[in-house]
Assembly symmetry: C2
Homo-oligomer: 298 residues x 2
């Protein structure tokens, strides 16, 4: 069993595409095709189901892939052990997180950690579609409000994210917004066209009182939603921590502070095996000692 063919197969198993595997490993698609074929020949068993253009692992392939998870993790661990002895070697740790949380709250709270762990190089990938980063090991772990359930993924609660409905004081005055039903006649700013972004708001309100938005404007970034509200374009719905300052400055007003809106649970999601790596232990220890309230912006 050739170890490099195995490595190629493992990478392929995560993405199920030869072209993508080639990109990840910085080689040509042809190399991947040759490599996997040779592995199959040497083991005398089909690992990849090539029906049409869509590729999938065979039963044997799935089994071998599971073994690969262990094998390559052990290699990873061995590397960490060796590098720990190497004073001048920087360990690398890559965190994936949602864009807004990552760029503001996370970065802010990690300052101390980064200063105290000079032997650790922290990289960040901010995205709102974190699943594949986690599964393909492009990150060591992710911090996400979406759920990721799998037998080999551990989830660690961090905090509940509160949402607020916001608008500028002028907008509220001009449009005379005092109650929920008023939202039906003003522009609703949402990440998506359909207003699904407001889901947590809507499900928190009794169906009889729930406003039916008539006028939804899409703005595809949270910072856009915030600035849109500040400029008086409409009403926005955003995580509370993103607008703590704006509300304090009276640039924005929390429209319905009395409402108990559904919160999102932010968790760390990490492959169980990776929990045993020191670098992950350290930063997770650090993150879990931060009080939930600090994360939510208070």
């Amino acid at each position: 069993m050739d170890l490099y063919q195995l490595k190629t197969f493992y990478t392929f198993g995560k993405v199920l595409s030869f072209t993508e595997t080639a990109r990840i490993l910085y080689v040509s698609q042809s190399a991947i095709s040759h490599s996997i074929k040779k592995l199959e020949q040497s083991l005398e068993i089909k690992l990849v189901e090539r029906k049409s253009k869509k590729l999938a692992l065979t039963a044997a392939g799935k089994e071998l892939f599971e073994s690969c998870e262990t094998i390559f993790f052990e290699i990873e661990k061995a590397k960490e052990n060796i590098f720990k002895r190497n004073r001048n070697h920087l360990q690398e740790l890559i965190i994936g997180s949602t864009v807004e949380f990552g760029t503001t709250i996370l970065i802010k709270h990690l300052k101390t950690f980064i200063d105290n762990n000079k032997n650790l190089k922290l990289d960040f990938i901010f995205s709102n579609d974190l699943s594949r980063y986690l599964l393909t090991d492009k990150v060591d772990f992710i911090i996400d409000c979406k759920k990721h359930f799998s037998h080999d993924i551990e989830n660690i609660n961090l905090f509940h994210e509160n949402y607020v409905v916001i608008a500028s004081p002028e907008f509220i005055k001009d449009n005379k917004i005092t109650q929920l039903s008023d939202l039906e006649r003003v522009p609703i700013l949402s990440l998506d066209k359909e207003g699904l972004w407001w889901k947590n708001f809507l499900v928190s309100i009794n169906i009889s009182k729930r406003p039916r938005f008539k006028n939804i404007n899409q703005i595809s970034h949270i910072r856009g939603l915030i600035n849109g509200a500040i400029e008086g374009i409409g009403v926005s719905f955003v995580p509370q921590y993103t607008v703590v300052n704006e509300i304090e400055n009276n640039a924005l007003v929390n429209l319905f502070p009395e409402l108990r809106l559904k919160t999102d649970q932010f968790c760390i999601y990490i492959k169980k095996k990776k929990l045993s790596l020191d670098k992950n232990k350290m930063i997770i220890d650090y993150l879990t000692t931060i009080k939930p309230a600090e994360f939510s912006g208070f």
Copy 2:
């Protein structure tokens, strides 16, 4: 971390010699030297202590070697898993055992097992110095009367080996051997020159009655000791199971059947990790259900 350099390092770690590693991997000594050097360079750490001609692992080297044990065992396991799906693939299992026990008793008892496990190819290495076969993974496990203690080696008791003092009826008559002290004036046949082979005999006898051999003849194989006794060259000391037939035929006589001689404990010694491999489980299960008495030749 290059996986083939790692494999080379792992093999080296077992034998601590570049030349020997080269032999095992069927490459030149130069290749090993280059390979280990490159690995050290890529990890930026010394793995091998090259003081004089004798090589040893550094602390980092030992740590990496331990990791290798896990890594390459996982690969072994992965292989077994895949090959199990392959109907026409023969699994290989190599047993190491002492020469006499292996060539007679073991072979005899494994007949049924071999017949019932056609998908398993059994190989045997018979030697009286089994340690290195075990530690270098040249065998899957060994059956030995010598002790092998290590944190990662499991031992499983099989049976006690009884020894007997034997001579031909003619020899006994001619030399009028009736008591222990008679042994002092006849040729003593021993595997070694010094008569250490008779250790189990001597320690079993009170020091006051213990004979002091005057005339020791070395014969370097047990079968030689037996045939030497049959031919009337002298008195031999051998495991009981080796001469069951000869005693029955009256070719040999058990000289002091009333003595309670020290026995040797025969055990299976196997690297703990290997216990989880199916092929090993199967044969060990089989061996441990055989009654000790059957092993000792009754």
